[in-house]
Subunit: 473 residues, 2 copies
């Protein structure tokens, strides 16, 4: 390898691993030449290589920088799902994903679990442990079916950040956001009804649609602004849609935040056609922008928005604590939540209420939000460097998953299997379609591993693609 | 008050409070005379009074005894529900019951929560607290959607006691038995289908029927042997019933254990008409007879029985850990359980698995089974003494609830309200009917209070009835 290529490799590695962060100034040409004992022109050649890879940019009179915003000319296409209500399939694929045990996986880019090793979770775990030691009896009996009052109070306080005015009686605690979505779907619709959804869409929401004997109508969705209101309106004119289910703030799997005026327009559309909105806000507190954007629920004048969320992405999914603010559907939601699983465990609710009350939650969010933003940039760099040039990818505005669209000849169902054999777990695109589309897409998680491992995972994926499609590189 | 009446009062109190237990020999006439400084004939007169009250019985040549078996000539009538499929109502009543806060209640005969103050629960609580301290991270991530493997292994071991051969892969862990019932109903039926149920029936099961858009067909039920197979067969001939939902072992609210040959006959009937049986075994381990009777699932040759249970009655409802052994419906059950609430919290499952593995569960059951049997007899005595003579009552063979049938002029909906004003909570009969029947019945819980408090509660109820219907006394 030539000297300049060696140096470029080294710099590339530093950038990928986050040693140099987006926006950082890189060492000057002179500095590097001295440091590595090479000529000025060798360093210049290395920098030019990285420049064509878009890993560094030259600013006139200032030197070289890591680009501060990964640029977006390689966004995935707006989705074009079939424009009619369909039964949801893909349960076998989802089951497969859910059953994937960590034992087989060294690099975990598949499961959307948050980083749970951060120290800001310690106060929560400590108080949970204290509660179990000091007040084990609090956890024994049946609790309030709407959820513990202290937690509901804290949740209504928390809702202020997303622009919502909630009374604690508006809130029903659930066993995670999955139960929240299932309950809301059943509350607003009857078997056979049609639910409009984003495309791609979180598989758990679609499976809940299936289990409630509903039909899914996937609406074209832009990777940066969300569900197409034009397409939605056309669908509303054509079909008797009962509700729209969206994840507008830090979407899973696309990562976008729907602009506020669009949220408002979506609400107006729902009002015009008199349908309900089920708003999944599970990643809402994890937007990189601060203060967090408002939820659609913030614009709700007549109680037609059912806000669903949980602590599964912000804190830990194992707590299984979620909630619903169901507006005018509160009574139906209370009924269905009760028959669905009765009450939720009390001590987790109390511990979370305390975590919120004492500011531990805010501190935790502030910290991991930044961690995820950094990890996003690292992962985007690794993708840009190693995956085929024609690869398209979203640049999430929050959360910790992103969506990759490979050239059409790449089959991610096959790729997922191959990667798994190499200990790399990814979520194949077909999981996020009601009918198994997005076969050249996949979702990658960047929450709970090191930049090194993620980069290694991307390299393995790149090699697997190269073996089948050398022409792509 | 005359001397003999005073002495009778005192003895009555001792019997009621369990100082003398069913089967116990009472002090001899001579002994009592000396002890209380009264004449032989006074003691004889006191014993005769108690004899007519059936509180004591004379055995020739042996003296006086507390009757060992409360006798059953005052059983409630076999129920006669309307013989057609109906929509379930009563949600407001159920919600009312569920929302009743302990603050307003001094004597709790309403909620079917077990005794959670017994020392045999200590090892479980200790290990739960240890897990939270030593391995908080085990509880954080998403776990196995079918439930933790250690718990499923222990559950299949436990099932042997009820005659069932289960592999751990046959078991799906749920958020309590409520979720188990809801999931099973949705797995075996489609909206509009008819489910045959006992009458009276646990309200949560009926509300799950309602929420799944099913119809309930209540079948006449004998208070000691359970659902009438003759009536069930007639109904099966007449209606396209999809499944039978029964609680055959220590029924809630009647308390009976269906005899084994009848369980077998019920299974054969289901086979003949090719329908599923949802068997709620939540109280099954709490029968006073040991070893516990077999479940219907024990006779299941072709996987048509879906066994549902939880630790809510045997251990503590707040743990929210239940399970399903769904036979041939396992795959549908897994799907619906996943969409319904995703996974169950991991640490509770591990702690319960350990409790089972180390024998703590068996020890606990042995202990509380006896406690409940004693409490049943005490409560039956108190009922016999204080409530109107024409009151009918079941004599449970397990669990900790019994069913009272007052003369028809007593309205338990009203009585429940009045009793609540006096700090006594009872469950009115209409909760246990799909259509608000059993208005002269109520369910009483005898698990978690002292005999004194229960007797006091019964006395208050008696006074309330007396005020409205003096002729009944
Ligand atoms: C968008 C979205 N909604 C809901 C859920 C389910 O959340 P929970 O684990 O709280 O049930 C998930 C989890 O993956 C999700 O990504
Ligand atoms: C017969 C019966 N089945 C099911 C349940 C619900 O049990 P869990 O609290 O485990 O959800 C109850 C609780 O009252 C019950 O009595």
């Amino acid at each position: 390898m030539s000297l300049y290529a060696e140096l470029a490799d080294r710099l590339r590695e530093h950038i990928e691993h986050g040693f140099y962060k987006p926006g950082d100034k890189l060492p000057s040409v002179r500095q590097l030449a001295t440091e590595h004992g090479v000529s000025i022109s060798t360093v210049q050649e290395a920098y030019r290589t990285l420049e064509t890879e878009r890993l560094v940019e030259a600013k006139p009179k200032s030197g070289y920088f890591v680009p501060s915003q990964p640029h977006n000319d390689n966004l995935p296409h707006t989705s074009r799902p079939p424009q009619r209500p369909l039964d949801v399939s893909q349960w076998e694929q989802v089951l497969n994903l859910l059953s994937n045990r960590p034992a087989n996986t060294r690099i975990q880019l598949q499961h959307a679990a948050p980083d749970m090793t951060v120290s800001t979770l310690t106060p929560l775990l400590k108080s949970l442990s204290d509660l179990h030691r000091q007040h084990p009896d609090w956890g024994l009996g049946y609790g309030d079916i709407r959820g513990h009052i202290e937690l509901r109070e804290q949740l209504s306080r928390l809702a202020v950040a997303s622009g919502c005015q909630l009374h604690h009686d508006d809130v029903v605690v659930t066993s995670g956001c999955q139960e929240a979505l299932s309950v809301c779907l059943r509350a607003v619709s009857a078997p056979g009804d049609i639910i409009a959804i984003e495309s791609p869409c979180f598989y758990g929401a679609m499976q809940a649609i299936k289990a409630a004997n509903l039909k899914a109508l996937e609406i074209p969705t832009h990777p940066e602004h969300g569900i197409s209101l034009e397409a939605l309106q056309l669908a509303l004119d054509q079909w008797p849609i009962k509700a729209i289910l969206v994840t507008p703030t830090a979407n899973n799997p696309l990562g976008y935040v729907m602009p506020e005026d669009k949220k408002q327009a979506l609400y107006k559309l729902a009002q015009e056609y008199d349908i309900a909105i089920i708003e999944d806000d599970i990643y809402g507190d994890l937007t990189y922008e601060f203060p967090r954007p408002r939820a659609i629920k913030a614009f709700d004048e007549d109680g037609r928005v059912l806000l669903c969320s949980s602590f599964s992405k912000t804190v830990a999914p194992g707590m299984r604590v979620g909630w619903i603010a169901a507006g005018r559907y509160r009574d139906q939601v209370t009924h269905i939540k009760y028959v669905s699983s009765s009450m939720c465990p009390t001590l987790s609710q109390i511990a979370l209420a305390k975590f919120l009350r004492l500011g531990g939650y805010d501190r935790h969010i502030r910290k991991i939000r930044n961690t995820y933003a950094t990890s996003r940039d690292q992962l985007l760099q690794a993708i840009k460097i190693h995956l085929p040039n024609a690869t398209r990818v979203t640049c999430p505005a929050g959360g910790f998953v992103l969506w990759v669209e490979f050239p059409p000849e790449v089959d991610t169902t096959k790729l997922t299997e191959q990667a798994q054999e190499h200990g790399v777990a990814i979520a194949s695109g077909s999981l996020f379609s009601a009918t198994g589309k997005y076969r050249s897409c996949c979702r990658l998680n960047y929450s709970d591993q090191t930049a090194e491992l993620r980069t290694e995972g991307i390299k393995i994926i790149a090699q697997l693609i190269k073996a089948e499609h050398p022409n792509l590189f």
